[in-house]
Amino acid sequence: MPTLDDYKGQTPTWCPGCGNFGILKTFKDTVVELGIEPHQLTVVSGIGQAGKFPHYIKCNTFNGLHGRTLPVATGIRLANHDMLVIAVAGDGDCYGEGGNHLNHAIRRNINVKLFVHDNQIYGLTKGQASPTSMEGMKTKNQPFGVFSEQLNPMALAVALDCSFVARGFAGDMEHLKGLMKEAINHKGFSLVDILQPCVTFNKINTYEWYRQRVYHIEPEYNPENRTEAFKRALEWGDRIPVGIIYRNSRQMLEERIPIIMDKPLVKQLPDLSKLETTLKEFY
């Protein structure tokens, strides 16, 4: 069985008090408790403070480009669907730079787990507005406040019939761990948006701000009702729901490709014995 020691990576360079520490600890606890060995897991990340995440654990890692986590993760899963593939991204990374990929990863329903460290601000580039920054938030680059409406990843995902949609809070690790486990065990594309306070640049959405607002979705809530899920996804402001907002049992992409029904692509060594027959098709 894997232990927390197996997942010990480099020392994080995040600011003291960063919400990312909560996510990192929860993640390690989750994979250890699920009995996942580091070599059975690949974490794909992009750029931003969240992009550094895989270096602070130990597993197969592809730390690629800003916004491009999902296409890389998709390629890895299609080549080897025995591998657990987790994409770790920030709100700028995933909802801004890579927004188009999110739409299509949801549509494909590739069995990738997407954990978004959503701090509603750009941390690595020092405090510009992100797609999830609240309207009116003033920054150095948005001196008159943010004009664009805040992107709602939960509503977006429900609208696209995303297979698993959840929101967690980095300050509530036990609850977040439950969500991560559910997401990993779910068959299909899973989005977990994790509210993560940025202690250095986001002076609005602080630990305190979130604590006053987040509430656990009640146990009797049925996440399989898409209309109710959409209503729940729209909640933001005085009360912010955390928990599983929506879930469905759409067939995942990997199950629909006849070529990989029997075994993963990477286990299928090329068979070129039919080449001569193929060449005859050109006569």
Binding site: H39, A79, N100
Partner: protein, 574 residues
């Protein structure tokens, strides 16, 4: 004998079907065939043509003069009548064109009526036209009937018979009515292979064990995706149509990282979106093959036409410095073997390899004796299973003598595979220190590059071994240049130097081609672009300056007579 047939008409009229079928008849009859197409970026209407040249001697370019024009629309006649050779003939259906032409070179064949009469449906009018062309050439319809059987095999005996009857009706009509036809095309020996450049790249990928192809459709590269998707089930290849070219290259890199041979393909505009991914391949040392189809640009340009203006782009694009290989095959045969070599080098050195082609090569069909499977290089360079299990320690970017680190497949053992787009240490983890940076640049760039350069083949010399005149080119101009050399060598000492392996620029170790150039009185660089991008590369790499250049950038390929005239004009100026 050396005949050219042109089929002209609107998009959607079935020009390509007639063209493909005739080309197949000729190649099965044993002739050498060359086809080229000219079409607009539309699904219906406009004016398109398909041109087939066939001969009992090798042909590898299109001529300006045509012998038979099949006019499916009225516009074909004013556009192409002047291209007719002295004994040329135009066939048309006056009922469809709603016009009659009385000149002796016009032959009115009721394509539609014969189709209805003999095939039972006007849809077979094109089959009638195909049969008619064979009748004019004095060829028997037998091979055509065989091809009809291949095409309509799945649709049942009735359809095969109806089409066969329509073809014979067209054939017999032409035999009886074309009294001025003086063509003669007797059957030759054994059938030849007929293949287009684009299919050769797809076939080359399949034959190299490609397991993953992700792309976004864009002319002239889409045919590769079509071909590989068609072979996906048989060969176990996943083809994923990505949401954009950025996703396409990143998916392919993900698949390659996960352990399979991966490829993407696009045109210049899509390649622009892939550029950051190219750089990612360079930094993470992830093998990838990229097919880059050129078409006239900037921006959308002429979407369906041809140009060779993305060489600078392919050479210099991407942030940062890393090794890359660039191939530019000149024929479908070269495209097949170079695609295989692209995979081999990409895997061996863990680098991106770019295969450049253009619309002209993509669409042109050529005939060959056949491709030799035994010449393919399919070495497994990846570390998997037991070999990986045995390692006590694994570092994805380990510093080695050659600069090449063992490439392991994640999940095959407890050893972890880590890579990063940031500068990284041997394990693949993010670093900031200068010392590691220098070591990694040395490894990725300076250690690998000389080894890669040794793999590059020199240009092909064709023609006189001590030429006074040398025509130089790259990529798709191979065929037309070679035929010019054949024609002109009757009067002058001329040769062609053709580059299909462009970068790293071929060294002089295997063949001192600079000596040929330095000893020539006239050197002409021939390119389908405005600024002479290859000539500039040559100067940058060798200091050599061409005495003359011939550049075409109107979106059309060089036709044989046109290029001959231009070369000849340069010779006369000597």
């Amino acid at each position: 004998m050396d005949y050219t047939i042109k089929i002209g008409g609107e998009a959607g009229q079935g020009i390509q079907t007639i063209g493909d079928t005739l080309a197949r008849v000729f190649s099965r009859t044993g002739y050498h065939v060359f086809t080229h197409q000219d079409y607009e970026s539309r699904i219906r209407g406009g004016h398109n043509f398909f041109q087939i040249r066939f001969s009992d001697k090798p042909v590898m370019s299109s001529r300006k003069k045509i012998d038979i024009l099949v006019a499916l629309d009225k516009e074909s006649i004013p556009l192409h009548e002047k291209e007719l050779s002295e004994s040329g003939q135009i066939i048309y259906d006056s009922a469809s064109l709603k016009q009659k032409y009385d000149k002796p070179q016009f032959l009115d064949i009721p394509f539609v009526n014969l189709a209805v009469e003999h095939g039972g449906n006007k849809i077979m009018a094109n089959t009638v036209a195909t049969g008619a062309v064979l009748g004019m050439l004095g060829m028997e319809p037998g091979i055509l009937l065989g091809i009809i059987k291949d095409i309509f095999g799945k649709k049942g005996e009735d359809i095969i018979k109806a089409n066969g009857d329509a073809a014979v009706a067209g054939h017999d009509f032409a035999v009886k009515q074309c009294i001025t036809c003086s063509f003669s095309a007797a059957p030759l020996a054994k059938p030849r292979m007929l293949i287009a450049g684009i299919d050769s790249i797809g076939l080359g990928a399949v034959a190299s064990g490609c397991k993953f192809y992700s792309a976004y459709p864009m002319t002239p590269s889409t045919g590769i995706m079509n071909y590989i998707a068609g072979k996906g089930k048989e060969y176990g290849i996943i083809v994923e149509q990505a949401e954009d070219e950025i996703a396409a290259i990143n998916m392919a890199l993900g698949a390659s990282f996960a352990g399979v041979r991966a490829m993407t393909g696009t045109a210049g505009g899509g390649f622009a979106l892939m550029v950051e991914g190219l750089s990612l391949a360079g930094m993470t040392e992830t093998p990838i093959v990229i097919a880059l189809g050129q078409r006239p640009a900037p921006a959308t340009g002429f979407p369906t036409r041809t140009e060779q203006a993305d060489l600078n782009f392919a050479l210099y694009t991407s942030h940062g410095e890393f090794p890359r290989v660039i191939f530019a095959p000149g024929t479908p045969e070269q495209a097949f073997y170079l695609t295989n070599k692209a995979f081999d080098l990409a895997e061996k050195y863990q680098i991106p390899v770019i295969i450049m082609f253009d619309t002209y090569l993509s669409d042109s069909e050529w005939t060959f004796e056949g491709f030799d499977v035994s010449k393919l290089r399919n070495t497994e360079y990846r570390l998997r299973g037991e070999a990986m299990e045995k390692l006590s320690e694994y570092k994805r970017h380990a510093l080695t003598e050659s600069g090449v680190s063992p490439l392991a497949i994640p999940g095959e053992s407890k050893n972890l595979v880590v890579t990063d787009s940031d500068e990284h240490d041997e394990e693949g983890h993010i670093v900031e220190d200068a010392e590691t940076r220098i070591k990694m640049v040395n490894k990725r760039l300076f250690k690998k590059l000389p080894l890669i350069r040794q793999e590059i083949e020199p240009p092909v010399l064709y023609g006189d071994s001590k030429p006074d005149i040398v025509v130089v080119g790259w990529g798709s101009n191979y065929g037309v240049m070679r035929e010019c050399v054949d024609t002109l060598s009757k009067n002058v000492k001329i040769a062609m130097l053709h580059f299909s392996e462009i970068y790293p620029f071929p060294s002089m170790d295997k063949f001192d081609y600079m000596k040929i150039l330095n000893n020539a009185k006239l050197t002409i660089c021939i390119e389908n672009n405005a600024t002479g991008q290859f000539a500039r590369l040559m100067r940058a790499e060798t200091g050599f300056e061409f005495k003359a250049s011939i550049n075409r950038f109107d979106g059309r390929p060089f036709l044989l007579e046109e290029l001959l005239e231009e070369i000849d004009a340069n010779i006369r100026r000597l």
